[in-house]
Amino acid sequence: MSLLDYFRSTKKNTASTAKERLQIIVAHERNRRNSPDYLPQLERDILAVIRKYVDIADDQVSVSLEKSSDELSVLELNVTFPDDKK
């Protein structure tokens, strides 16, 4: 085994990277699938409102609508605020 091969073999295998990426995207898309069509627009609107006050990136807000029973749905809003270094 050459020195180069030794370093190659210590690299993380691509199959586990694939699995992690898939688990995230599939969970995300399943969530979308079961949610109303207005949710993406709602998410953008909420983001715009928060941006008036705090400078945050697109992926720092996540909105999900979870149906807990036939009569009750819960809108969950998750905002990650940037570290306050000032």
Partner: protein
Amino acid sequence: MAKIIVVTSGKGGVGKTTSSAAIGTGIAMRGFKTVIIDFDIGLRNLDLIMGCERRVVYDFVNVINGEANLKQALIKDKRIDTLFILPASQTRDKDALSKEGVERILNELAEEFDYIICDSPAGIESGAMMALYFADEAVVVTNPEVSSVRDSDRILGMLSSKSRRAEQGLPGIKEHLLLTRYNPERVVKGEMLSVEDVGDILAIKLLGVIPESQAVLNASNSGTPVILDEESDAGQAYLDTVARLLGEDVPFRFLNVEKKGLLKRIFGG
């Protein structure tokens, strides 16, 4: 009453038609009267895989439009006498299928056949939706590769929301995972998603694992469903798959790297 099984995937080129041909042939070999319908309007290919491309006179769309009757359009397989093929139209566009038309033909077929296999086109447009709409069971063909797994998940979403069973509030379509082009050597090296990985993500029952095999191309070259090549690994894997589809409990094979003997190591093969 006939059982309607859709073979679907979302992504193209993963082995839907190969699997439809193999599974349909395998079921017919057990003595069940079986018809395989090509839903890929405009891109007919099942006829080539089954080796009956020169015998196509009328097609699925002709029957829906009343230009021919089923008896004229169905092609009887020359190898297995309980097997029939209904070819897709080559000239029409994919919107030529209407829900009412498809339903009428399926009802007519159901009177005579035990199993109806619907070979879905790729994508999530009308042809694919039509192929899955009336299904009782679905075989979701997936390659151990990111885009195929993601698309399969989308199709699973369609199966549970856009089918007749979903719309009428009936028990859902029974979903099966068929993993194709599986290469255990690459899985061991960490280069390919394993059966367990794909199973974890899609969370549906595993029906079969078809190894990546030379036999598949050889079979399509000659117009013979690969399941008839009973010597080959892929052929045997499809035989197991059909047995499971019919409710038998068969252990999985071809999941692990075949240990090579000394001679094979030296001379290859």
